[in-house]
């Protein structure tokens, strides 16, 4: 059993300790807002917050989470910054297929929690998730709007 704190709730997880957090979230806990895209840390569709750090959950074995708190997209609107980010995403109509967008919103939320007024370079450094639908310009605009 591995103990995890997810969106403020404690869970006892019966899985091998090397199981990636991503699959525990999606398949064991039914938190399917976090997406599987590549499994190798390339795409960022699986981004969650680990103690407020944007983290690719496909690369995190559950044994290494320890006492860090996990926040997923399902809880994003419980956070003031997350609410602003979602509002900007809606106002600028960012998503196309939407599959990458959970990860994008989480990456943006982490960025703005740490750097409320990011520079273009900050945005470029933080927003590295892939989007096959090419919504990159809309994403950057929404981050700027959420920061404004």
């Amino acid at each position: 059993m591995v103990s995890l704190t997810i969106n403020g709730r404690q869970h006892a997880i019966d899985a091998e300790p090397d199981t990636p957090l991503l699959f525990v979230l999606r398949d064991t806990l039914g938190l399917t807002g976090t997406k599987y895209g590549c499994g190798i840390g390339q795409c960022g569709a699986c981004t969650v917050l680990l103690d407020s750090q944007a983290t690719r959950s496909c690369q995190i074995p559950i044994e290494s989470v320890g006492t860090q708190s996990v926040a997923t997209i399902e809880a994003v609107e419980q956070d003031a910054v997350g609410r602003k980010v979602v509002a900007a995403w809606v106002a600028l109509q960012v998503p196309q297929c939407g599959y990458c967008q959970s990860g994008q919103v989480m990456a943006a939320t982490a960025l703005l929690q740490q750097t409320p007024h990011p520079t273009e370079a900050d945005i470029a450094d933080a927003m590295t998730n892939l989007c096959r639908c090419g919504t990159y310009n809309a994403i950057a605009a929404a981050v700027r709007q959420a920061a404004a």
Binding site: E16, T32, G39, E77, V94, M127, L130, T135
Partner: protein
Amino acid sequence: MDQFLTEARADAVTVVEPPARDGVPGASRRGFLAAAGSALVLSVALPGRSARAQAQGPAEGAGAIAPKPGTRVAAFLEIHPDGTVKLLSPFVEGGQGIATGMAQIVGEELDVPPARFVVDCAPPGPDYAVVNGLRMTGGSFSTRSSYAVMRRLGATARDMLIRAAAARLKVRESELTTRDGTVIHAATNRSLPYGDLAADALLLKPNEAVELRDPSTFRYIRQPVPRLDVHDKATGRAVYAIDQKLDGMLYAAVQHAPHLGTEPEALTNEAEIRAMPGVHSVHRLPGAVAVAADSWWRARKAVEALGVRWSAPKPSGLDTVAADFSSDGIVAALKASTDPGLPAEAVGDTAGAFAKAAKVIEADYEAPYLAHAQLEPPSALARFSEDGTLDLWLPNQMPELFQAIAAQVAGLQPAQVRIHSPMLGGFFGRHFAYGPGNPFPQAIRLAQATRRPVKVLWSREEEFRSDALRPLSYSRFRAALDAQGRPSAIEVRTVGEGPIGRYFGALFKNPVDSSAVEGIVEKPYAIPNRRMTFTKLAHPVTIAFWRSVGHSMNDAFYESFLDEIAQAGGQDPFALRQALLKDSPRHLALLAAVAEMSGGWRRGPYAAEGGMRARGLAMASPFGSETATIAEVSVEGGEARVHTLWIAFDPGSVVNPAIVRAQVESAAALGLSSVLFEQIVYRDGVRQAQNFDTYPILRREHMPAVHVRIVESGAPMGGVGEPGLPGVPPAVLNAIAALTGQRIRALPIANTKLSAA
């Protein structure tokens, strides 16, 4: 692919089974399905209508006449007491915004704000065959093919609601009006919400002739109405195929044969794998092995640890890839073909023009296989019920076709298969039926073997191994120039294969595969003598539709070569296109628009922001729409850097300008990604790319500024989802040539080290 629409109209106008009511004899839906199913011979009847739709049907039973698609209100609309409207859409939403577009079109005539709609993809059924008698989400057909039908549907429903209200209020219909989902009797200040009237209204016989709204009074159509799914997508609530879950479900992971067409002959450590945690069972499937387990991660770990002895690869054929097959090898084979091929376009006296030419130029162009790389890996969930019927949740662009194939695999009748079509996490052509390129037959077989619901999910690596691919392509171009440097003739020889020929060849009969030559034929330029040929040479790999299909490489070839013609004739590429289009006001207007957007045409090179830049121009006529594109490019560290794209886009007319703009930008990003980086390379019969680390796609740092201007010429409505793509690769290639003098003729650009400008 655009021919699909016209040909489909001529050939397959009916979904009625048996014999066509008013279709061309012998050309039935069955023929279409058989053709589309490729290797499958389908002797199946069409699925029945949904129970709800049947309630409104004029005649039922075996001899029932199928409804005219798009006419039966009950098959499409549910109006709820709370004022929301559920629309069963013929189309699947995958990012293109079609759910919102449908809500706008139906809502406009029904007089309900689009925001009150919930839109789901409809189950299989003849009511939804609104793409000229077929049903598919693809070819950028959805809006243009169904616009008139869906408007009429909304108007028909509104008329039924008014008649129900007239009966209820005991007034004449002409005294009633509607507003935002309410029928109003102004004279007595009474009103009835649609939700109260819906049950009565659906019992009425629809009027054949209903009046449509005057377009000048449109409130939703042509407006940038917000998309219905954006909040869900920004908060993780949107549900895709990969997210489906059922009680008692097993998760399955697969390992595909390293060489297409080989089979698992022996498992070397099966007992060991069975003993791994959570493993339920180990299976051999056609061309694959699978493990079912209580979680997907456990299934995946187990299947990857499974030792498999595969049969020896066969020689290359259709769906068999030989041990020595390679991309280089097939390019060489396409180039070496001496088959003269069939005429795809023949105008004037090409031979005569070449004999008289002052100058002749010639060039070979080639483009690689491409993966779709949609961000959602494919999956399928199958569940058999106690009565033997099958439920399938799966990504698909053609529910009826998948239903027919699933029935074949399961040994059922199509009516015993219920297809659920969740939202797609990107598609770009990925989710047509591609034989070994789809996971749902595996899910069906595993559900049969385990007697449990099974969800098969392909890992990203298995997806790169088994995705159906945009065909590798090759064309040889020749042009004759007269003494003034003007092109007097163009000749193009295309050798290869396209997906229309592979998957729909039996339906369309035309031996010239439109999806192999589109973008090379029917260009608008007034070059007096033209001769294009197509030589079919089949690929052993599973080929696919890929956003903008043949246009995705052919416009890159043609528009690059047109710049080569300009250079050989000492002309500016913009001026040459203007001259060749002088009798086409629609194209001249687009050229003028893109020039104006970009601050006036200038090719360069010129100095900007501390470096040298240049611009390239390209035009394309994909899917009934027209585009003119300019790219601004520099070279940094031997690599192309695209700073800005300006795209003037004329789809005739639009339903939602915001969605159109977003789709054009999205298509442009995919076009740029493909021309800069993308390639699936075969070596020793095996694909080299395995994941996004070895198949780079466009990342944020490569994304240029994109400026889109919609030009509504009023021409018949064209497609939107794909046409933004084809102009981008050649515009970038032409800019690189302007900047560095390097003419790249083999894609992607990443294979060529660029010289500093």
